[in-house]
């Protein structure tokens, strides 16, 4: 058994760990400098390997004006994802991709914006934390988002990732208590991922009230960049959230378009629309 199990016994032991301090990573510096220059940030998600042209799409996202691209590593049981991303994950696996194959293809994509991988903890745990951190780092990936790794369980990964130079981004939810929010904000690196709605990933017609509330809560707790994802689906919703947040994360709205056959050009246009709406 590897180090994945050396978790802190109590939340309090995490609070002082201050892993979020120290030299800034690529993601956090990029987002901070955007904020410093009065710009809102845009982070777009797609599932690695979900379509033959996914690498082109990733570049299109960059070209469209995103600040960060978030790349999903496929997992059979994506517990916080709605049908759109579940399906993308399945498409990726069914066409013979694996989390590692996705990681390994990142370097040749030659992205100039920072890349973060988003996945579930078993993918990392099974590979071995050290091995996975090395692999991610050597692929030039800047950050990680582990959907099912709450702060209590995050110590091992955060340590290992940091050693490899990876920023680990943590989530704050509408139901996260103030105390807890403070701790998560301390631990999170790159930015704080505000979960905009109580629910799984997926597009919604209306921006939930909770999206702005959680952003406000996080902004009150930290100076770190504060991006809202889950529940933000359209350019106008993105604009609305950015009244408070430092930026937005869009996933399902993009993944759905890819699934529906929209190519790199179409995605680039959509990202451009998003960019324009928050600028």
């Amino acid at each position: 058994m590897d180090t994945g199990t050396t978790t802190p016994d109590l939340l309090s032991s995490v609070a002082g760990s201050g892993t979020g301090e120290g030299r800034l990573g690529a993601i956090q510096s990029k987002l901070l400098s955007a904020r410093d220059s009065g710009r809102k940030s845009l982070c777009c998600y797609l599932m690695g390997g979900m379509s033959p042209d996914w690498q082109d799409v990733a570049r299109a996202i960059e070209n469209g004006g995103a600040d960060i691209v978030e790349i999903g590593l496929p997992f059979s049981d994506p517990m916080i994802d709605g049908p759109v991303i579940q399906h993308a994950s399945k498409l990726s696996l069914d066409s013979g991709n694996s989390p590692m194959s996705v990681i390994d293809s990142i370097p040749c994509m030659d992205m100039s914006i920072p890349v973060a991988v988003m996945t579930y903890y078993n993918i990392i745990y099974k590979a071995g934390l050290y091995r996975m951190a090395g692999r991610i780092a050597s692929a030039g990936i800047a950050g990680s988002i582990i959907a099912d790794l709450p702060v209590e369980e995050s110590d091992s990964w955060v340590t290992t990732a940091n050693d490899a130079g990876i920023e680990n981004i943590m989530l704050v939810a509408p139901t996260t208590s103030p105390d807890r929010t403070k701790i998560i904000c301390d631990v999170s690196q790159g930015f704080v991922y505000c979960v905009g709605t109580m629910g799984v990933t997926g597009e919604r017609d209306e921006l939930p009230n909770s999206a702005k509330e959680v952003a406000a809560k996080v902004k009150a707790a930290t100076d770190k960049p504060t991006l809202v994802g889950i529940g933000v689906s359209t350019p106008s919703q993105a604009a609305s959230v950015c009244a408070i947040a430092d930026g937005v994360i869009l996933g399902s709205a993009i993944v759905r378009r890819i699934t529906e056959g929209e190519g790199a050009r179409g995605i680039e246009n959509f990202v451009r629309l998003l960019r324009r709406s928050i600028d």
């Binding site: 016994d9 049981d77 994802d81 078993n122 099974k126 996260t176 807890r180 109580m198």
Partner: protein
């Protein structure tokens, strides 16, 4: 908790009363750890609900009123205590003395009612008037729908689409009980996907809804809660066995393991005895034997998975054991050697199902038949002749009768065809 690995080293491979000094099957603490296993791997949106649940359970479980209420419902509604039955004919046949803890006689036909009754009470205590649950074959879904009906709560049950078709009647049964059954169309469309879907539903409704997990699995505090709620099986059984055995404990205590709740509840009554504890998995879903450590559904435990961490489908004759994981406490008990985990294959299980029916007039659930099958196989081998064995019969087999009929017919036809080809 931190000494886990040394504990594992000291005791692994040596079951027996040496463990009575250990606080096995106690409180897993705030982190919900069983040695290295367990924990709480859920997305942040679920953390508040998990923490609230843990706090409430700690309060409830320390509250005599809660226990009294629960005990009273289990007694006057659930049919507890269930008896221990002496299996005269089977014992004679196989040379070991077999006792059955009869959870098949509990309301809804399995031990699942113990768990759901407790969780429904807990939900009410938390002011939540809606239950959601996952189900494979439908037993836990039926039990949850039952508790919800009895307590006047809303209920939604998630069930893989494949399972809704295989177990159509159980779907109707849940609907009769007033539950809303959702056919899950994602992934392999079976139990593990139903769990995913229940968790997803819980994310968006956790403020009003309690997720009634069906076995000793999931994020902390579920494995602990469910084990504690099933402990009644083991506690009753130990007393009953002592009465039957002149104050002695059985040499062996055997239970089938899907998620592991009936086994955990049973073992909990015997950890401080010298009984050998055995959990029997389905050969096609043997997470302890063939699994590797991993994280699924909020817990770190042994899982059936491929090299890249993708979860595999479990495949067994009994839908209730078709789960690619196992409760984290079992992974722990296996690692420290306090319990051993074995498996039984489909053929043995069908045979045991028929043998228990014919010899004792008790048609076991296919799940429970795994435990029986292992005992039959190992009588005179691993289990010395003359030993006393308590098997928890986790449920009744009425639900399985038509499936077994089809299997027996098919194998009969295959044999006949075989014969025709030969002759």
């Amino acid at each position: 908790m931190r000494e886990t690995s040394s504990v594992a080293d000291t005791y692994s491979g040596s079951p027996g009363n040496i463990h009575s000094q250990l606080d096995v099957m106690g409180d897993p603490g705030r982190t919900g750890r069983y040695g290295e296993y367990g924990g709480r791997y859920v997305p942040e949106p679920l953390m508040a609900a998990c923490l609230e649940l843990e706090n409430e359970f700690r309060l409830a479980w320390a509250d005599d009123d809660f226990h009294n209420q629960l005990d009273s419902i289990l007694r006057s509604y659930g049919g507890r205590p269930t008896p221990v039955t002496e299996c005269g004919r089977l014992s004679e046949r196989i040379g070991v003395r077999v006792l059955l803890k009869r959870e098949d006689l509990a309301h809804t036909g399995s031990h699942k009612i113990n768990n759901v009754t407790g969780q429904a009470l807990l939900a009410r205590r938390m002011g939540k008037n809606r239950l959601i649950a996952e189900t494979g074959a439908g037993q836990h879904g039926v039990a949850t729908a039952t508790a919800a009906a009895f307590m006047g709560m809303e209920c939604t049950v998630f069930m893989g689409e494949v399972d809704t078709l295989r177990q159509e009647l159980n779907v109707f049964r849940m609907e009769l009980l007033g539950a809303n059954v959702v056919a899950v169309k994602s992934g392999s469309k079976t139990l593990k996907d139903a769990v995913n879907e229940a968790l997803r539903e819980w994310v968006s409704t956790c403020e009003t809804t309690h997720y009634c997990v069906g076995s000793v699995m999931g994020p902390h505090p579920y494995p602990w809660i469910v084990r504690e709620l099933q402990r009644v099986v083991g506690d009753e059984a130990r007393d009953q066995c002592r009465q039957l055995l002149g104050g002695q404990d059985p040499d062996w205590v055997v239970a089938c393991v899907g998620g592991g709740s009936n086994a955990a509840g049973t073992f909990a009554g015997f950890t401080d005895t010298s009984s050998n504890l055995v959990g029997v998995e389905a050969a096609g879903g043997a997470a302890i034997t063939h699994g590797t450590p991993g994280i699924l559904h909020g817990m770190l435990s042994n899982l059936l998975q491929d090299d890249t961490g993708q979860i595999l489908e479990a495949k067994s004759i009994s839908a209730g054991l078709d789960y690619p994981g196992i409760g984290p406490e079992h992974a722990y008990l296996a690692s420290v050697g306090r319990a051993r985990y074995e498996s039984a294959n489909d053929d043995e299980v069908v045979k045991a199902f028929c043998q228990l029916s014919e010899l004792e007039g008790i048609i076991p659930a296919l799940e429970s038949a795994h435990a029986v099958a292992w005992v039959i196989r190992e009588a005179g081998k691993v289990i010395p002749f003359g030993s006393t064995v308590l098997i928890t019969l986790s449920g009744r087999g009425d639900k399985d009768v038509s499936q077994v009929r089809d299997i027996l017919r098919k194998s009969k036809n295959d044999n006949e065809e075989g014969r025709v080809q030969v002759g």
